[in-house]
Symmetry: C2
Subunit: 426 residues, 2 copies
């Protein structure tokens, strides 16, 4: 897990340090997890099938890809989440095969995965969600998957503590991506633990982002979904590696409701706000880890845009900058190229007046001013370039006087990205 | 100029072969051009200042960047084109300095360039348009520019035939980009000649696209503008190298009205349609040359999308595919990666149903089917990869049954692009 070197202008919500460091999903009261290798990934012992099990009915929420070409498990999980009335009991996840572009058979296989878990754990099929990531266009080897599911269900029945969950959902991620946080809600301690995968690819490939978060908060399905949607807007939807949206992107959040605070039943009030803060801390951490592990990434970049006409306008400008190949290659080349950043801002589709723009880089706590009032400032190019040896960089652009702001996480565009994505043959 | 290997589904309009090959802008009746080195580019003898002069009032039209951060010459030319009532008499163009992000002084310098040309050629300042391309954020060295303008005006007064125009507008383009065509309008021969620059960069850089076309057609300003806007939508606006829009993009079209056909006064009818065909041929050629000379380009790619709910939807899908780094790197790697193409189509923001999609590559006249009815087809990967050794590739995606279609020109994303854009230091 990376350190949270946040720039001065975006104070992170106050979360409690969870004693003794990072915690797995299974350490949150009410949840069990298991993971194993069933043969979807080539390397033996490399886990590729995982299960999250909620011991009792709680609450669940989900956000799903907006890609029109979405995979069978996405369609199934969206439907099951609605039918379970926001109280799913299990999530089964496989890596190595995305079950996307697999037609009617793919839909049947996703349904079969849910049905198998339901049968073995004595749940309704609609209480089981399914996520898949990996190769697209290939049918799942269902006998292996069903054997794996049988073992997984046996494992969670025995209450194991599995540390392999974050590894089991990886595809070509270089590192597992776990996160955890605790907050206080009405004097009760509420825990969050999550894991995600992303920005890895498998032929014929796309970057899929999957995220799973569990909490023991006592929160009803409606405010849970509201919190996840809100926080996703500011974290996973403020994240880009190459602008490509996957067919399988999914973030799921389960609450066991075991924490000792009065139930949160509405998406408002102090307890809800505290819950959102905790969830933000975990999701920010996860989203940042994805950008940091972006394919070929040599820099972790946070693009802050302030002062535009609305929060949406700020985000649109920040995303346009973060997706600009010219900006991303300039950062890879350690070049403080204010011109490319201004030009990207100008084409974001919202009002931007260069005469009002102010731009600086923030590197290791130090500000490097580049542009103000319609003109570039005199700056020490070689010195900034040297400072850009640091892995982390904040691009801070103010486009006007408003109080609105947005922050997008991304990485640079390097030869590594080209090598990973071009030098692979079918 | 490159050959026009068009795929079967997009027949080019019938244009006459202009005898003895490519013609410069000065060969079109009513126009003179001149170019020289005034010191904006480093290499002596490398032309960096050019002039187009219309001997008599004709008609003019223009399309300009939509980037909110637009350069001083863009604002000036847009205003002058309106004030000249569509009959500009001269265009002065410099390369080496974009006069962008140069504040009030930049605006004064652009106005000074127009005023100098007007004075020397006995025109109104509002009859002169100005285009600049090159470095941004730096003030023009006006004494050099004014000296150059004085010489240029002397040259066009003497009716020179200058072949240097297309070279004078280049920045880091690898090759000059001229095009010409002739058509018949009511038995009269109408000529078009044009030149453009694009996809080259200069520090602190952005890709600027400039295009200049002259014709002797007898056409009024309103239909001329209508034709340019229509054709730009299908050519220069169906072109992408890296999705970055410049602050200076401009295409200007002048008509001397000397051709011997009845005047075209409205944007409809057979004569107008013939004019649009001729203009399309030139603009298609120019736009294709820009994609082919895209930074680091190893493949010229045409993305055809057919059958979506509207022409706009077709174009949106085609542009999303053409801008996808994953698609572009796959093509660089000669990988027939249908998954990345389908995934890009799915996130274009318009309705796409994978079950209705049909995808093939077209290489040197041969079709390579990849995907149909929601599933990948069995295909010979190594054979397609071998065929992708060819420089040109058509990606043909049908997403539904409609008759709508769009075609976007682009290039692949290679190590060359990263090297050009990252390995440069301020």
């Amino acid at each position: 897990m990376r350190s949270k070197a946040e720039p001065s202008l975006s104070a992170l919500p106050a979360v409690l340090p969870w004693k003794a460091g990072l915690k797995g999903l299974h350490t949150v009261a009410g949840f069990r997890t298991a993971a194993l290798h069933c043969g979807l990934k080539r390397a033996k012992g490399n886990p590729d099938l995982a299960l999250i099990y909620a011991e009792e009915p709680g609450a669940g929420a989900g956000v799903f890809t907006t890609n029109r070409v979405c995979a069978a498990p996405v369609r199934l999980s969206r439907a099951h989440l609605a039918k379970s009335k926001g109280a799913p009991r299990a999530i089964v996840i496989n890596a190595g095969n995305a079950n996307a572009c697999t037609g009617e058979q793919g839909a049947q296989d996703a349904a079969r995965m849910a049905a198998s878990v339901a049968e073995l754990l004595n749940l309704k099929p609609t209480e089981v969600l399914v996520c898949s990531t990996g190769l697209i266009g290939q049918l799942l080897p269902m006998p292996r998957v069903e054997q794996g599911i049988a073992k997984l269900c046996g494992m969670v029945a025995k209450k194991p503590k599995s540390g392999d969950f974050a590894r089991a959902i990886m595809t070509t991620d270089l590192v597992p991506k776990p996160a955890s946080a605790q907050i206080k809600v009405d004097d009760a301690t509420v825990s969050f633990a999550g894991a995600c995968k992303g920005s890895g690819m498998i032929m014929p490939n796309m970057a899929t982002m999957l995220g799973f978060i569990v909490t023991d908060a006592n929160i009803a399905p409606n405010p849970l979904q509201a919190a996840l949607s809100q926080v996703t807007e500011r974290t996973f939807n403020c994240l880009t590696v190459d602008g490509d949206t996957s067919t399988n992107d999914t973030v799921l959040l389960l609450a066991s409701r075991k924490a000792a605070h009065p139930p949160i039943t509405q998406a408002k009030g102090k307890a809800f706000a505290a819950f959102v803060d905790g969830l933000y801390a975990v999701c920010d951490d996860l989203a940042t880890q994805i950008a940091d592990d972006g394919e070929g990434a040599e820099h972790l970049v946070r693009v802050f845009v302030l002062g535009a006409e609305s929060p949406v306008a700020c985000k649109q400008i920040a995303l346009t900058i973060a997706n600009s190949p010219l900006v991303k290659t300039a950062i890879a080349g350690k070049d403080p190229n204010w011109g490319r950043i201004l030009a990207a801002a100008g084409r974001a589709g919202v009002e931007v007046d260069a005469a009002q723009c102010e731009l600086h880089f923030e590197i290791q706590g130090q500000a490097y001013p580049l542009f103000k009032a319609g003109r570039p400032l005199a700056f020490d190019g070689p010195a900034i370039s040297k400072a850009m040896d640091a892995r982390e960089l904040n691009v801070v652009l103010r486009t006007g006087p408003s109080k609105h702001a947005a922050m997008v996480r991304t990485c640079d565009l390097t030869h590594g990205y080209i090598t990973i994505n071009a030098e692979y043959h079918t």
